[in-house]
Symmetry: D2
Subunit: 348 residues, 4 copies
């Protein structure tokens, strides 16, 4: 069977990446692409790298245009997906790349986002440990899926094994992320201009204000951390178009041995295709996962600092967003999980 697909927000970065991956997917037909101000223009004008889709024209992002497909991807700014929920009631599978359906807590939503709250959907991070089982189980047959925040899923995947196994203390997590500007979207903001970012490392959202913090807290709570989670979270824009390198640390739980610690991560990810733990002493680079759906992870146990250090590299647009969405789609539809997804990065 071939599934018909519509992708909204198709002129943006997240939408473009969903299209890039789906263009090579044997089981889907990209029937409709929509945009807001760019509606009516050829897709290729806004995504000149998607040569295989140069026959497509952007249509308006309306419920009418999106309805009638087997699958709809929403790649819209935060707060705009929710309005389509009702209109797409008849759509078998809807996957939201925005934040509208990620958070379970109204309080968190109001504090970090604001605007109307929407029900949470199945969280699109299949490898995440939730109450001792992988999130994958909840995605089988799902009809509504929330793709994760790229920074959030990177940090959550980094620490969930240690939290679930009780070998780290979630009460004093510190994470600092080097991130590429594509995660901020194709927005016309001075701080996203090339001249501002080339040759510079630029922090933002310092001091506990980043919107992905409650998403991490939610995921790690579900992984077993209980209520005592505290996270210091600092993202730093660096001059690479894509990529997240998250350095996440947490105190070693009292009495945890090195073997127990390492086993927590090996047990969690030893069988996974798209989350790979590197050998002791090895750490990943974002170039290694460019264009790939792989989260590469290195683990250090620093007894002097009394902390576990997990360094994880992902491509924010793939494993962080569009790849997670397609992987989740594959699971939901019962297709081979890795269809159209690569583990190999484009490097150098």
């Amino acid at each position: 069977m071939t599934y018909s697909v519509a992708v909204s927000g198709a002129s943006g970065y997240a939408g473009g990446e969903i299209l890039r991956i789906l263009a090579a997917h044997p089981d889907v037909e990209i029937r409709t692409v929509t945009a807001h101000s760019n509606a009516g223009q050829p897709l290729i004008q806004h995504q000149p790298h998607l040569r295989s889709l140069r026959h497509l024209t952007l249509r308006e992002t309306t419920p009418e245009v999106l309805a009638g497909h087997d699958i709809v991807f929403l790649a819209l700014p935060h707060g705009q997906s929710g309005q389509f929920t009702d209109a797409l009631a008849g759509t078998p599978l809807v996957i939201d790349a925005g934040a509208d359906h990620r958070l379970e807590s109204v309080t968190d939503w109001n504090r970090f986002y604001g605007g109307e709250f929407h029900d949470p959907w199945a969280y699109g991070v299949p490898e995440l440990l939730v109450d001792g089982v992988k999130q994958r189980a909840r995605l089988v047959g799902a009809t509504r899926i929330a793709a994760p925040g790229c920074n959030a899923s990177t940090v959550s995947l980094s620490l969930a094994p240690g939290v679930a196994a009780g070998v780290i203390d979630a009460g004093d997590i510190v994470t600092v992320l080097a991130v590429g500007p594509s995660g901020a979207g194709k927005s016309l903001k001075t701080n996203l201009l090339a001249s501002e970012i080339l040759g510079s490392a630029n922090p933002y959202a310092v001091g506990g204000t980043h919107r992905h913090i409650p998403e991490i807290r939610q995921a790690l709570t579900a992984a077993g951390a209980g209520d005592g989670i505290r996270i210091s979270f600092t993202p730093v824009l660096v001059p690479m178009a894509r990529g997240i390198l998250a350095t996440s640390t947490a105190p070693i739980a009292r009495g945890a041995t090195d073997a127990q610690i390492r086993a927590a991560w090996e047990d969690a990810y030893g069988d996974e295709t798209f989350v790979q733990l590197l050998a002791p002493g090895e750490f990943p680079r974002t170039a290694d996962v460019l264009g790939a759906n792989t989260a590469l992870m290195g683990l250090a146990i620093d007894r002097d600092a009394d902390r576990v250090v997990v360094v994880t590299a992902v491509d924010n647009l793939v494993k962080g967003t569009a790849g997670a969405a397609v992987q989740s789609m594959n699971i939901a539809l019962g297709l081979p999980e890795g269809t159209a997804l690569s583990t190999d990065g484009v490097s150098p």
Copy 2:
């Protein structure tokens, strides 16, 4: 009076930056430049940006060549400066940009460097709080100065005010640094090739092995932390030639108020020219200090995470190395401290 100067390691990045700054210094004459394998060649062949010094030829790095100057800068690989100590006994001022004269602890030296231990020299970070007074006082009239490690001084300056004031707990410091590859020198290593670094964020020395860790511990101990210091330190190479953006966090000391915390940094740096604290809510970018001797610092107090977050930007080759060396030289000689040093970065 004009001081005659010799700079060893003049074909490398640190040596080149010392020369760039000294070339504009009205009180010194760059008389001699030396190198190892490149001796005999024109300086301009290895430092094609130093147009004003194209009359100089690299000589051998030997005690004989270096002797007889008023000031000698050593910009040599670690472990190579010590051999010149005796030979330069008659030199009025020697400034070492290497690590040989930074550490006070033989144990630390043996663990992180190895080889022969050398006596520590006056540490070239004038603004650092040491036992309640600025390190500047110890540099006045100094004859032997150790320029700091670039990452070490950045982190030490970031946290010393909080440590000295007792408003943070030095027992669980976590610092992650985005750094440019010039800090690693002009070494021919695969991991320093452009193809490996462009478009990628690459961690190294993860898990407590970086050589700057004992230097930070030493500085913060002197600032007032006592013996209980623990530091999780992770550097990440990012695609910018220069710059360090250090995100340093430490637990808020019990009972410390926001006002007390902020006052600690304001009191420490309010009168400083080359260490500047930004207004609340503002954080620095490395581009803002490119080519400048300025450490720009932003401070956040994250009560959710119960941590102070200090983000500091420096140019690793200027305030991190060569600028610190020249600033210290100025102080030692009784010259105006900012001679030949700029506070303004070259941006964008």
Copy 3:
């Protein structure tokens, strides 16, 4: 049928890219990977992005190790492929990514390369016009294929249509290329260090000395230029890991109309998948072809300058090298030409 494959030079950039593409090729089995100084080590240690091939170990590059496969790829430094010619006499298909089998002229070889001359093999640029037909025809059933020089094929593809149609004058070609450093390989040279390339544009081989010049001359002669070719060729290293943006200009042939000029390129490439001509007024970016086998081309007719300007973007490691090699392999073996090759770039 599944073809067994050996790839030599597997720890380098060209070898790595051949492996990345072949890893997704349904008709081949990567059985053997070889290297020189890195033999005996896991492939993943040198190609950490090739997660799907982490079971492979590098073996010695010897005739014995390479023999016995259906297909052998040679990705060796120039001058090293020729030694394997005799030893691989029994191998059904050998594809050389080096220069040893590209040039037909001993004189050119001696002037630009030197060392032993080897017979030219079928040139691996299927879309190139040769005596009025596409080079593709000569690749069908070929058993020995020379993948092109990345800069050479980019310029040759840019201008061959105009030369073949007689609408441009090949007697005064000027081409300037912005190129990423990966084209220079994983060589430990100071000028390839990240600190030297980040934030800078660096010319090299200025003034007619680049080795790809005779290769272009050979291709354009075959396209119909006759003997009067002159090429001013200047490559400029720019801070991107991959990519070539070639700006190639040639005088408009006397009397050629705009319509005739544009038709020359449209006729040549209108039916091609991997060489695509953009609409008038549109020009390509290298990001649009990153990781893709596509050569994207824009054409301008500048009557003030009396020149045609062709701007072409390729990924030097894909369409410039490894993609060209696999595309040629597919043709030689009678497989669908685009197997394992993407037209869509990874962008942003």
Copy 4:
């Protein structure tokens, strides 16, 4: 005497660079900075690298605010400087960094810019050969100066010596420039976003449409080319914040010897401080002139191509704009020409 200065457009890139240079100028006092939409805000908010000017507040860009200074710098978008001409009639020295007062030809102005034409002012490229003498002579005592277009002056300086000496043919110039995005200003355009430029080479204004073409034609005509000038001009955005690397070629004039050709450039620039010709076989990199007022030039004579190739590196914001403006100001005022200007780049 200290000259009072006002800088309009002070929140932009060109204005910021004028300020950076003037901040270190001993003979001027920066009294007023103005902006358009940012008026009323602290300068430091828009130029966070100008630490020494953090006491300044942006005022409205009006004739009243600008009047009353000894010197006014206009760093406004094209077409906006002209309106101040009358209002600043009483200002002793006005320097325009925009295009409004560069072109002598109304026809060129109408074709490439449009809007009201304004009289040309003294062209701010002191080293340019004009009718056999340096432009410097026309700047002595000048009261109205037009700083050059960054690309235009780079190409004009590159070729004027050959044109003036009659050793190259200006009838078929081809120039291709690798340029950083800061030349395009702090404009909010999608094609200037970091995600669009990082890792990519992006051509623009291909085919003879760039506005700097008539400016080059005007300069080279004045240098001696007569009316027969033709220029193929292609700029390519590359991922570096600053810098222009211009590769300019022209046919060798019939009969010109290598010695005559080289002598043309040596004679022109041998005594210049800020335009330096490199030794034969050497070519410049943009990093070598970052932050410096130097144009570094390499010359090749390619007899196979029958062309002279001149590769010139400048910092577009310094020698290309703000440095040229200050250098011209120094000359106009009778100050030492190099005051506040460095020949040494900030590298790596």
